[in-house]
């Protein structure tokens, strides 16, 4: 371990660590790009149907199935499976197989939390909206979605942390990112780049988590901020068991 730490220290002081396409900045940037792209696609795919299903308060079975299937499918297998097809149909190495796997990974938490959030908007709030003469669309936009924002954010947060973490596996299908030095390091005697990459990606995951906590404070100022760090994660995972158990 101490030898590996020394190697990491040496690596961090070398020029190679900070410049070029194998440098930490380039790898981090690639990691962020693929994570953001995957999250945007996943949010566009998952949120609208979840809002509609939550509004009509139907589709619990869909929520259950999406989560269960999503959890059981290994991302690694999806990337590995898609790689040959991506090449055959001209999508190239790495990027697209990884994005597809990450989108599939990100959809379940976003979908379930959005669905649960909209569905569990207190009935009296919805009735009040209806009593004020709001149409279905207005009720969704002005009442149900705003009330569901904390849960929607939680879903995004859980997904984002998983996406950042799992994007690392993209290195296995030749998408160059922070996973690349880790994978190379498994077999290389020089553990320096591997440890640096591992720490960088762990840090990136934690920063992502923190960014969503911040976003939550800004977007949902009426929520008590105390203890959000531990609790918001609780919320997300627990929305899922609701579905799993049903």
């Amino acid at each position: 371990m101490s030898e590996s730490l020394q190697q990491m220290w040496d690596y961090l002081q070398s020029d190679g660590a900070w410049s070029g396409r194998n440098g930490l900045p380039a790898l981090t940037w690639a990691h962020i790009q693929i994570s953001v792209a995957s999250m945007l696609i996943a949010a566009l795919v998952a949120i609208p149907p979840a809002v509609v299903l939550g509004h009509v308060r139907r589709g619990a079975l869909a929520a259950v199935s999406v989560v269960n299937i999503g959890r059981a499918i290994p991302s690694f297998a999806i990337m590995a499976l898609l790689l040959p097809f991506s090449l055959r149909y001209g999508f190239g190495l790495g990027f697209w197989p990884t994005v597809v796997a990450l989108v599939l990974l990100a959809i379940p938490p976003i979908f379930t939390n959005t669905y649960t959030g909209v569905r569990d908007v207190p009935a009296d709030a919805v009735e009040a909206a209806r009593g004020m003469g709001m149409s279905a669309g207005e009720t969704i936009r002005k009442v149900e979605v705003p009330v569901a924002v904390p849960l929607i954010l939680t879903g995004l947060r859980v997904s984002a942390v998983q996406v950042v973490a799992t994007a690392t596996l993209g290195a296995l299908v030749a998408y160059r990112n922070l996973g690349t030095p880790i994978v190379t390091g498994f077999t290389s005697p020089d553990k320096g780049p591997m440890l640096a990459g591992a720490l960088a990606v762990a840090l990136l995951a934690l920063v992502t988590d923190a960014l969503f906590v911040l976003a939550g404070r800004v977007l949902v100022p009426w929520r008590a901020p105390a203890g959000r760090t531990a609790d918001a994660t609780v919320t997300a995972e627990e929305a899922a068991p609701v579905a799993v158990a049903g």
Binding site: N68, F76, T168, V183, F186, L199, L206, E238, V242
Partner: protein, 266 residues
């Protein structure tokens, strides 16, 4: 890894070569046991640790947030990164021990939360009744609280197990991966058949574990079936809905969740 320019998959290469599958059935059995033992060991150890943490968290409430926070940090660390760090530690090295430590660390958050949620979902009047009957605190936890928390705990075990089955495929990279070995093998040889087989078997194993837990829960909570076939499921779901509401710091939702949990559990 793959050689960039050349097409990896010949156009006529089928997704699954059945003769290869037939020839390797014996290997699948070995990989099955490797996958199962790694999963069971990780979830078993994770469960033991989480149970202790949960009992501490319920007894000394202020410890819950730091404990959950710590497990949350562990959970956020990418598996590859954790493997990368663990294999540089001589005591763990490349293989089983590193894989196990990483897998256990990922089960903690899920299990801790669900056990605590289950224990919190026990209706206060039930606790008071037990206290009134003269149960000592720890005996009450064992005989009353934990049995009533079973649905939520089993829900946690299901999630932890299914997640672990998927993660085991990744531990193939450090030489211990059950069906993940097939995926890794196919990837390194640009040969889709083992990838497909590894993925399908891994998903099938996750589903099998899930079904086993459902059966197990039915056996453990015979009272849940008394009022109708779906009550046990509702209990688990609502106890967790309760926890979700509780942690949202919103009194109204909490009350709602609690009454639902009580309805499902009793």
């Amino acid at each position: 890894m793959s050689s960039g320019a050349a097409p990896l998959l010949a156009v006529d290469e089928p997704l699954v070569r059945w003769d290869w599958v037939r020839d390797h059935t014996d290997d699948f059995v070995d990989l099955f046991w490797e996958h199962v033992s790694l999963t069971v060991a990780a979830v078993g150890i994770g469960f033991a640790i989480s149970m202790v943490l949960a009992l501490v968290a319920v007894r000394w409430r202020w410890t819950y947030e730091p404990l959950a926070g710590f497990c949350g940090v562990l959970y956020a660390i990418p598996s590859l990164a954790l493997f990368g760090v663990l294999i540089t530690i001589p005591a763990f090295g490349l293989g089983f021990r590193s894989a196990l430590v990483a897998l256990v660390s990922y089960t903690l958050l899920i299990l801790l939360r669900n056990i605590v949620a289950g224990l919190d979902g026990v209706p206060p009047e039930v606790r008071e009744a037990a206290d009134g009957m003269g149960y000592e605190p720890w005996r009450r936890v064992l005989r009353v609280d934990l049995p009533l928390a079973t649905p939520a705990i089993v829900a946690g075990l299901r999630i932890a197990t299914v997640t672990t089955v998927g993660l085991v495929t990744v531990t193939a990279l450090i030489g211990e991966g059950g069906f993940g070995d097939l995926i890794n093998d196919g990837l390194s040889r640009d040969f889709p058949t083992p990838i497909v087989v590894g993925a399908v078997l891994s998903v099938a194993l996750a589903v099998a574990f899930d079904v086993l837990f459902v059966v197990f829960e039915r056996l453990l909570t015979p009272w849940a079936r008394a009022g109708g076939p779906r009550r046990g499921d509702r209990g688990a779901g609502d106890a967790l809905a309760d926890a979700r509401a509780r942690t949202a710091h919103d009194e109204k939702w909490t009350a709602l969740g609690r009454s639902k949990a009580a309805e499902g559990l009793l």
